[in-house]
Every structure is written in structure tokens, then in C-alpha cells.
Symmetry: C2
Subunit: 138 residues, 2 copies
DNA sequence: CTTGACCTTCACACATGTGTGAGGGTTCGA
DNA sequence: TCGAACCCTCACACATGTGTGAAGGTCAAG
């Protein structure tokens, strides 16, 4: 497929797809006329990049960890230099930290939301169907 | 305490502390000479801001959710407008998504690392003490 | 009183992800 | 053959978080 279709299928602007390529995250090959040509696998790949980007990782890091994330665990290990393994460990730990932090704060928001609907009776939002109020608060 | 101490205690540059204030994330009061004056609570507060920032939330969102995250669940609910509750729900869901994504990818990295050390015997890094290799690979 | 360590505001600078548009080719159907 | 709908590269622009430094005020110790 060409860039327009990939763009549509990943909800990612053409501009960004070219940017990701420039950053070495994806490598499209070219049709004789110069157009980029992508195959199916790029859809998942781009989605994964978006996810990692959204999770706060910079392209520089994504470029390094992406090859290790191929779904069929390629038993053929690429050039895993010690520096790269160190980066991987470090990034893994950083992600674990992030997960902890996000979880803690997400739960705090959740608690707040629960408290608000228990207290004020909610606002008709999508969380209004949470079942019976705790006895102590009714 | 003044900005220098808060900076040291939170490993955050003075510049950023002023920036967070400008963004409405913290509100220091001023000594007669114009110096910012912070109390203990700001240490945690700043650390929390850093965490949320690192987790990928922009200051604009942090400003909204921070008041809901005060540790002693202040049963006194601030001006929780419906728009704000909607933001909160949306952001909570977004965080849940991020957590899912980060977890998935973190685990993938972890698996890769495990596979590498099982395969190549590791590189002497901090994960080398993971115990016996899986029987099938030794 | 001076020096040094603090503090203030202001402003320019930079990296990163992303938008936008100019200037110009290719392809395909009417 | 024309127009629409693609594609290309290049480049400037913007928001956000962050660094850095100038020009100057405050304060305590020597």
C-alpha cells in the first residue's frame, strides 16, 4: 500500500509517517516512481510506534527497542551489544516506574471520581451505572 | 524553604519550579523581599508533578487533576464541574490505556532480555543472577 | 563595606513531535 | 488532454518542557 492508505489505517498523518521513517523507525521501500510502498506489517508497526510515543518514549529510544519487540520472538538475536542491553534494562526499569506511577495516580483519580458520584449523585456521565451506593454513604 | 532548597530536594531546576508555578501547578507565597517561600508539602507536590509529566501528561491536564489527588482524601469537593469530571474520566481512561501499552511492551523487553541471557549467557549485567537456566535451553 | 551565595524577572535558545503549505511529479478516469 | 487525487521534497512554524544567561536585588559573614 502507499502512504495515504497507511495513513488512513493508522490514523497517522503522512507527515508523521515520513518523520518516523526519517527517524529510522520504519523503512519503506520505493516504487519505481519514487512512491513509498508499505506492506501489511507496517500497520501494526506504526500503531506500536504511536503507542510507545504516547507512553512518553522518544524516537531515539523506540528505534533501539523496536527490533526486540517483533511478535514472533525471533530466536535469531540481532546485534545485541552490551550497551544496547544496558539501554534495554534501563528503559525497562523506567517503564516499570512509569507504570507504577501511572497506576497510582489513575487509581487516585478513580477514587476521586467514585467519591464524587457517591457524594453528589454524579452528573449523568458514563460512570453513573456503578450499582448501589455504599451503605455508609446513602 | 526557598527555591534553592526545594530544587535540591526534588532534583528539579529552579527554572522548572518557576515554570510549574507559571503554569499554575504550584503556588508559592512570597517573603517580604520577594523570595518564594515553600513549605514541606511542596516537596511531594513537585515530585508528583514530575511523575505525571514523565508519564506524558501535559501541564494543562496536570493542573486539572492535581487538586483531586491530595493524599488525605479531602471530603470537601472542590468545584467539580461536569466538564472537569469528563476530563477526569477521559484522562483516567487514557492512563489505563497507557498502562496497558507500557506493561505489554515492558514485558516484551523483559522477555527479550531473558531470551538473550539464556541464549548468549548474558554480558555480566545486573540481571545475570536470575538463577538456573530453563531446562529446555541448557 | 565588600564578597559570595542566594533570590528576582526577562528573554532568547533548543529539542521533539507535529501542522501546513509551496513547488512540482505521476497516474488514472472523463 | 484535462482534472482530480495521489505522491515527492523541502522548509518554515508552533507548542511544550527545559537550559542558560543577563541585569539586578537581598542578606549574612568576613
Amino acid at each position: 500500500m502507499r502512504i495515504g492508505e497507511l495513513s488512513r489505517r493508522t490514523s497517522t498523518s503522512r507527515r508523521l509517517l515520513r518523520y518516523y521513517e526519517e527517524q529510522g523507525l520504519i523503512a519503506a521501500d520505493r516504487a519505481p516512481n519514487g512512491y513509498r510502498e508499505y506492506d501489511e506489517r507496517f500497520v501494526d508497526r506504526v500503531l506500536q510506534i504511536r503507542g510507545l510515543l504516547d507512553a512518553g518514549l522518544p524516537t531515539r529510544i523506540i528505534r533501539q527497542i523496536l527490533p526486540c519487540l517483533d511478535k514472533p520472538r525471533t530466536i535469531y538475536f540481532p546485534d545485541a551489544t552490551p550497551e544496547m542491553l544496558a539501554t534495554l534494562r534501563h528503559e525497562r526499569d523506567r517503564m516499570t516506574e512509569r507504570i507504577r506511577f501511572l497506576t497510582r495516580n489513575r487509581d487516585a483519580i478513580d477514587d476521586y471520581l467514585d467519591a464524587v458520584i457517591a457524594y453528589g449523585g454524579g452528573d449523568g456521565g458514563p460512570d453513573s451505572d456503578v450499582g448501589p451506593r455504599p451503605a455508609a454513604l446513602t
